[in-house]
């Protein structure tokens, strides 16, 4: 951690409980962790461990039942849906397992989406989206629809989209889960490249092999952090 620098993300004693009839499910039961600027962190855990709940909270799609969560020092609890949408737009770049591109929009328009909600003018959006597609190696594919692209290409469009708003954090949920080994490796190589350029990345996965591509691995089990350390040790 840089001396005196505030972490990009600081989770303190985060709890997420779901009330289901008579029982309460403690999906997260006191998770604390910091993520500093420029870190590449994997969050790993088997299904049902609470990692999805954690990812939803980190991504500001959900708010904790208890505990505090700050992004760049800004507290997130108790914010309205509108403010949360703003924070997602500004701070988080989502990358999903199933890409989640809008099927009727071409690659350029998909990359532009977050910029629409950020309020950028059409021309600025176009230029930025074209630059980003160039950066992920899809310079000539701007006008292709998702259905006309391969899985790896689709995920690269999704990465370009995640980068579009210059977010503080890239939040990737099983980004290689729908890809074959070779394509998955290409995507992980792209993450490494982005990390080298200074991006902060959080990669959520159940696969220890993939988790190892990060510098640091946080292991979640039964709603608690059970290990947190350099990739070599924790995974």
């Amino acid at each position: 951690m840089e001396a005196g620098g505030i972490p990009v993300m600081r989770l303190k004693d985060i709890k997420r409980h779901y009330v289901m009839g008579p029982t309460t499910v403690r999906a997260l039961d006191g998770v604390s962790m910091d993520v500093d600027k420029g870190e590449f962190v994997s969050i790993i855990g088997p299904s049902g461990s609470g990692k999805s709940s954690l990812m939803n909270i980190i991504g500001c799609l959900d708010t904790p039942t208890d505990g505090t969560y700050r992004i760049n020092g800004e507290s997130v609890e108790g914010l309205s849906r509108n403010r949360l949408a703003d924070i997602r737009n500004r701070e988080i770049g989502f990358i999903f397992q199933s890409f989640n591109l809008l099927p009727r929009l071409d690659a350029l328009a998909n990359v532009e989406l977050p910029l629409i909600y950020a309020g950028l003018a059409k021309r600025e959006r176009r230029e930025k989206a074209a630059d980003l597609l160039e950066k992920v190696g899809l310079g000539g594919r701007g006008h292709h629809l998702p259905a006309e692209l391969s899985g790896g290409q689709r995920q690269r469009v999704a990465i370009a989209r995640a980068l579009a708003g210059n977010p503080s954090v890239l939040l990737a949920d099983e980004p290689t889960g729908a890809l074959d080994q070779k394509t998955g490796a290409e995507i992980l190589a792209m993450f490494a490249e982005l990390h080298a350029e200074g991006a902060t990345i959080i990669l959520v996965t159940h696969d220890p092999g993939i988790a190892r591509s990060a510098d640091r691995v946080v292991r979640i089990l039964d709603g608690l952090v059970v290990a947190d350390g350099p990739a070599g040790e924790a995974a």
Binding site: N56, A85, R88, R104, Y117, G119, A121
Partner: protein
């Protein structure tokens, strides 16, 4: 920034509608038919109202009719004067003619009579009047000349035939002018055939000088009715009041409650007729409005389906920073674009239908600008109202649930 995001919503809506063109068209069909029927049906209603107005104007402009007797239930409607006990005199007529607000007058009495030409018989209504009848009633001879003051003064036995009466009695072979006919056995010479009024009752009448009528047909000296043309459309109420006052004075009566005459004002007749036509228009408009509502329900149905189908898209947009308001506007704009384009197409179809009705259907149809504005506003409101609920549902989706939706 707000307007920019809104502008994007319109763009997104158009892209989405283009993306499923066939479904979008079918969705707008309900509103299209609603707007078209609103335009076309109110055009028919308007046309009917204008037609009534036209036919009343053809009675004569600025016309007041003074009838003998007490007003009946249907006092405003033009009455057949043959079964009225006459109470109006030549002095009354002169006094009314002298009023400032009165332009022209003519007396009128009528009776049924047996008309005969050679060996043909026909039953007609004989109307006694004077030389000013054509001017007052806006009804002129098509052939020959209407009898003048001299013929009236000298009780000449001359007659003007309605266009239908002429054909019924004389056939089409005989030159009517100069033909000798008999009315109730008395000989009359035909001097004129009147133009058709497009009204069988009027066209089957026979006009003779009022002096001859009183002496030979009905007997007595009084008139059943007086036709009065006021000097100005805007002064008809005043003219009516002046006539009533004058006649009350002449007949030495205290008030209209005791009067042995009454005045039918063309404006009242027009008002009553227009009221009927207005109700008709309102009724047709109501039917059309119902079909717009049905069209709106169709839009709501499709928008609900669309929101469900695009749950995942909504989740993605929310994850990327769309606020509930952005999602609401996107779907609302989509519904409004659907309903307004349906409305505009419907307006075009309605105008075309109204034109076809009058061109090929022989119906009077007149599209009013008001109905076009109404159809447009109605389709806009339909989109806002029926698109509102689906759009609200979309905006309330939980992004996590929406992203998980298959």
């Amino acid at each position: 920034m707000k307007t920019r995001v809104f502008g994007e919503s319109v763009g997104m809506a158009l892209r989405s509608i283009r993306g499923s063109a066939a479904r979008s068209f079918l969705t707008t069909l309900g509103v299209l038919i609603g707007a078209a029927s609103l335009i076309a049906l109110t055009a028919l209603g308007n046309g009917a109202s204008l037609a009534v107005e036209e036919s009343l104007k053809s009675l004569g402009s600025n016309l007041l009719i003074v009838y003998s007797g007490q007003p009946r239930g249907t006092a405003l409607v033009r009455r057949n004067t043959s079964n009225i006990v006459p109470t109006l005199t030549a002095e009354d007529l002169e006094a009314i003619a002298a009023l400032d607000l009165v332009a022209v007058t003519s007396p009128e009495s009528s009776a049924s009579a047996q008309a005969k030409f050679e060996n043909r018989n026909s039953s007609v209504t004989v109307v006694g009047t004077d030389s000013k009848y054509p001017a007052v009633r806006n009804h002129y001879p098509a052939a020959g000349e209407f009898f003048g003051e001299a013929e009236v003064d000298s009780r000449r036995m001359v007659a003007a035939l309605g266009s239908k009466a002429a054909v019924d009695l004389l056939g089409t072979e005989v030159d009517p002018i100069g033909a000798k006919i008999r009315l109730n056995g008395l000989p009359f010479t035909v001097v004129a055939v009147m133009e058709s009024k497009g009204n069988d009752m009027t066209d089957a009448q026979v006009w003779v000088p009022i002096s001859s009528f009183l002496r030979s047909v009905s007997g007595g000296t009084k008139y059943a009715a007086l036709n009065v043309q006021a000097v100005d459309m805007g002064l008809m109420r005043e003219a009516q009041a002046a006539i009533e006052a004058e006649l009350l004075r002449l007949h030495k009566l205290p008030s209209m409650d005791a009067a042995d005459f009454y005045v039918a004002n063309q404006l009242d007749v027009l008002g009553a007729a227009q009221g009927t036509a207005g109700t008709f228009t309102l009724l047709l408009g109501g039917i059309a409005a119902i079909s717009l509502v049905v069209g709106g329900i169709g839009i709501m149905n499709i928008m609900l389906v669309s929101v469900t189908e695009r749950t995942r898209e909504i989740g993605v947009r929310m994850a990327l920073g769309a606020k509930p308001g952005n999602v609401l506007v996107q779907f609302l704009v989509e519904a409004v674009v659907l309903s307004v384009s349906g409305g505009l197409l419907g307006i075009a179809a309605g105008v075309a239908a109204a034109w076809a009705f009058s061109r090929f259907g022989g119906m009077a149809a007149s599209v009013s600008p008001g109905s076009i504005a109404l159809a447009f506003l109605f389709s806009l409101a339909t989109g806002l109202f029926f698109g509102g609920y689906p759009a609200f549902r979309a905006s309330r989706l939980d992004p996590i649930e929406a992203l998980r939706y298959e």
